[in-house]
């Protein structure tokens, strides 16, 4: 490859590559087109037009530089803008269909960004097939599936031109610090990740539909099985059902719990399991910590719910004192909120304060590195805990030299510093977001959320979780916020998914200067 020496960011090459990726992404519109054809042509034209627009715009961008050779510096640009444009063009069908609250441009973008970033926060006032067509609802689900393992990872897996520099782009997209190549060629690694991801997705769809056929899940028809398969593995959280997973039988809820858990694990580990090394997951420190955290918090949650005698809702019946229900609701919500899925199998806003505090706590954990989950990530917490333990140890033994180990390997101090910096920045952004939302919503007279609601709205969008408490609770939504707040949350979902830095560096003058 001929080196090109640009003093500045080669934005032409960057935009051209974004165009290629966008044109590639436009193929995804085939899915809602097929759904539209199956269901009698509802909104068929919407998706055909969206597809043409997306592909056309993508191909037009390629004219900036017919043979782009973006370098390491352009990687941030490419990744950030690919996601922004994906969300923009993903919103086109909502606008064209023109139904419900998402016909408004800002709402459409919110819903689309929430989809691609697998947040699962919704501004749909009425989640039902009366207002929105089946293809539109399926598109909403599909955006999450595409965003889960990542648009760029998919492109690297399929487009041969992404081989050079693909690793750099993937690094900016895949959650967690750095990526692990499994094979010499990055395209193969990307393929492996997507195969594992798609494999679990199909498995869940088949199992869900089998439950339906066996009569255990009356309303889990083929459409719903596919729709929920699309949003479980990417830790998405969208559902075509207004009451999320609560709409389905307990068997379905139990089945979804392990799949949500799977989605929060590093897919590299699943690849090892699939290729014949089942113990690979158990050897991994991050996995063990993740498993331990989910188990312990689920049991804690169960205890809190079980002993909360007054806990009952009209949909769920009496929970306090009922062991199966306590365990099911606690395990489901912990699994769902730890790794940022955001499904709900009941209105957890009704829980007592202790149980809710537990949920708020796990929202800050996040999934594993290389999983589809959002948030700060288990690995980072693990490194922080280990290095804090070292701090305490070196306080007692000032001369001790203690490297921080992860999976038997020593981490270098730069990596540890990077993890601290990320986590701190994440928390700062969370509080800034809370402040801005509070200031902004106080202007609106008709909308009066509680402090806790705003706090969770900030973390739920930055962490790509979806639901929070109160007005933004699992059965509520984000529609009540003023447009300016929604724009802020769109930004938060975007930077949250890309783990802040790829977007943040674009906002610095140093990035654009020579």
């Amino acid at each position: 490859m001929r080196p090109r020496h640009y003093l500045r960011v080669d934005w032409r090459a960057g935009l051209s590559l974004v165009g290629t990726l966008l044109a590639f992404l436009s193929i995804a519109f085939v899915v809602p087109i097929v759904v539209a054809l199956v269901y009698g042509g509802d909104d068929l034209w919407v998706f055909v037009v969206s597809m043409v627009l997306t592909a056309g715009f993508g191909l037009a961008l390629r004219r900036f530089d017919p043979e782009p050779s973006p370098g390491a510096r352009e990687a941030f640009f490419v990744v950030a803008f690919t996601w922004l444009f994906a969300a923009l063009f993903g919103a086109v069908p909502y606008l064209l269909a023109g139904n419900g609250t998402i016909a408004h441009p800002v709402n459409a973008l919110f819903e689309s960004m929430s989809g691609f970033t697998t947040t699962g926060a919704t501004v749909m006032e009425d989640i039902s097939f009366e207002t929105h067509s089946r293809p539109i609802m399926m598109w909403r689900q599909l955006t999450q599936w595409l965003g889960g393992m990542g648009i760029i990872v998919l492109a690297v897996a399929i487009l041969s031109q992404m081989a050079v520099g693909g690793a750099q782009l993937m690094k900016a997209e895949v959650p967690g610090p750095g990526i692990s190549k499994l094979t010499p060629h990055i395209a193969e690694t990307a393929r492996v990740l997507w195969i594992a991801y798609a494999g679990f997705t199909v498995l869940l769809m088949v199992l869900l539909y089998t439950l339906h056929l066996l009569g255990f899940a009356p309303n889990m028809d083929l459409y719903n099985a596919v729709a929920h398969g699309f949003t479980t593995l990417p830790t998405g959280g969208f559902s075509p059902e207004a009451r999320s997973i609560e709409a389905f039988s307990p068997v379905v809820q139990w089945l979804i719990i392990p799949f949500m858990f799977i989605a929060g694990v590093n897919f590299v580990l699943w690849w090892h399991v699939i290729s014949g090394d089942p113990w690979a997951v158990l050897r991994d420190t991050e996995f063990r910590f993740y498993l331990g955290a989910v188990t312990v918090f689920s049991l804690l949650g169960t205890i809190f719910l079980f002993f909360d005698a007054s806990l009952q809702t009209t949909e769920t019946g009496q929970i306090g004192g009922n062991l199966e229900r306590s365990l099911r609701y606690a395990a489901f919500q912990i699994a769902s909120l730890t790794n940022s899925t955001g499904y709900a199998n009941m209105d957890f806003d009704a829980w007592g304060n202790t149980a809710k505090a537990l949920l708020l706590f796990v929202m800050f954990l996040g999934g594993s590195t290389g999983s589809t989950g959002g948030g700060i990530k288990i690995l980072r917490w693990l490194v922080i805990l280990k290095s804090l333990r070292r701090e305490i140890f070196t306080t007692i033994h000032p001369d001790a030299v203690r490297p921080v180990r992860m999976n038997g390997k020593t981490l270098n101090e730069d990596a540890i510093r990077g993890i601290y910096a990320f986590t701190l920045l994440y928390l700062v952004l969370f509080f800034v977001g809370f402040l801005l939302l509070a200031a902004d919503t106080s202007r609106a007279t008709a909308f009066d959320p509680h402090t806790l609601d705003l706090l969770t709205a900030s973390i739920a969008t930055l962490g790509n979780i979806g639901p929070g408490f109160g007005v933004v609770g699992p059965m509520g939504g984000y529609n009540g916020f003023p447009m300016s707040s929604k724009l802020l949350m769109i930004l938060y979902m975007w930077i949250g998914r890309l783990e802040i830095f790829p977007v943040l560096v674009l906002l610095t003058a140093a990035y654009w200067r020579s």
Binding site: M1, R2, R4, H5, A72, A163, V164, G166, A167, Q168, K171, G178, I179, K181, L182, T183, P184, H185, I186, A187, N412
Partner: protein, 448 residues
Amino acid sequence: MEVPMRVIIVGAGEVGRSIAGNLASSDDVIVIDRDERVVEELTYSHDVLAIHGDGTTIDTLREADIERADLVIACTDSDESNVVICGSARTATDAFTIARVRRRTLLETWEGSQGGFGVDFMVCTDLLTAQTIFRISGLPAAQDVDSFIGGLVQMAEFEIGADSPIADQTVREADRYDSLTFAAIFRGEDMLVAKGETVIRPGDYIVVIGSDDSVTDFADDITPSTAVDGDEIVIVGASEIGYQAAREFESHGYHPRLVEQDDDRARAVAADLPNTTVLKSDATDIEFLEREHINEADIVISSLGSDEKNLLVSLLARRLGVDRTVAVIENLEYAELFETVGVDVAVNPREETAEEVVRFTRTNRTEKVAMLEHDRAEVIEIEAKIDSEITGQRIQDSMADFPEGVVIGAISRGGELVTPRGTTVVKPSDHLVVFVDSNALDEVLEGI
């Protein structure tokens, strides 16, 4: 498409990186290095799997899946490590092993032992560099020279000076030779395929491919000054490379002069080089240079231990009026810079090594490879297969299917040189010498 080889490269220095970059697109490449930062950087800059670890240990090699490897290349900066790496690899695999060494004695020991140390092929950096220096010295003004098809065909790259007779001529006007093909022109950042109407400008680097004689004729014609006979050769610095170069010149019947500052070293090399005049002095001493009439030398080769000293010697020689200076430059980044400030040719041992290894790994596909302008383009020798896209076609027809930047420079048919023209038909088992833009290399290897 060839089945990709699984190649393990130990040592990600300049040699390792260069080889990795070259093989990554066609083969599965795994690179092992002890420096964690290098591994991290390599993961993202090259399409290879980079592993952090000590390549001499079997554990690290196992981590790289050594059992499945087809080729192991040991190119760390330490001779001993490289030999040990090959030895360790041999305990776990039958893969072909290549070791890079600096010292010729190691090479000689290996040659004597018939595949000792578990090494299947040994590349001696210093010897290679010395050979390159000799090849370049033979032709005036040449930046790079390589011979193909058993010496029948030569490829050479020349810099066109402002006073060159072909400066500002078109390729058609300049091409007065029977069996010479103008392949390409490097002009700054650009690479132009030489067409009839292309104008040759001063400062261009031009690549020609043709018979031995015509390349020499061409070389003589484009340099207005009297051509170098190569009689007066001065080598400064009896480093291993300097010493090897002196030996190369000796074995071709020349009587070079070798300047070495260190008394013991001077005595030692003098004992080994009967046809060389060894001078014990500091080569940056102007008085000495004048006393020995270094200004009358046709060529000064500086092979001192450091790049900066080599530059200094070259500049001094230049000022004294030496026609041609060749400097050994270890740091690849400097090479280009030094060539612009006054060194005629910078020879980089690492680049030479990488070239040799890549050439060797491609042997099943191409017979010989030469890299140009730090691997912006390559000249390869390749046999036309019966079922290939170009066999049985006129060149002008088949070239239309290939990307820009591909030029057939020479054809050898039954040991005879055929100068390719647009109407020449390529026959099966013809050997082709082809100039290829590095970006188009894979396509060409598949197509021919």
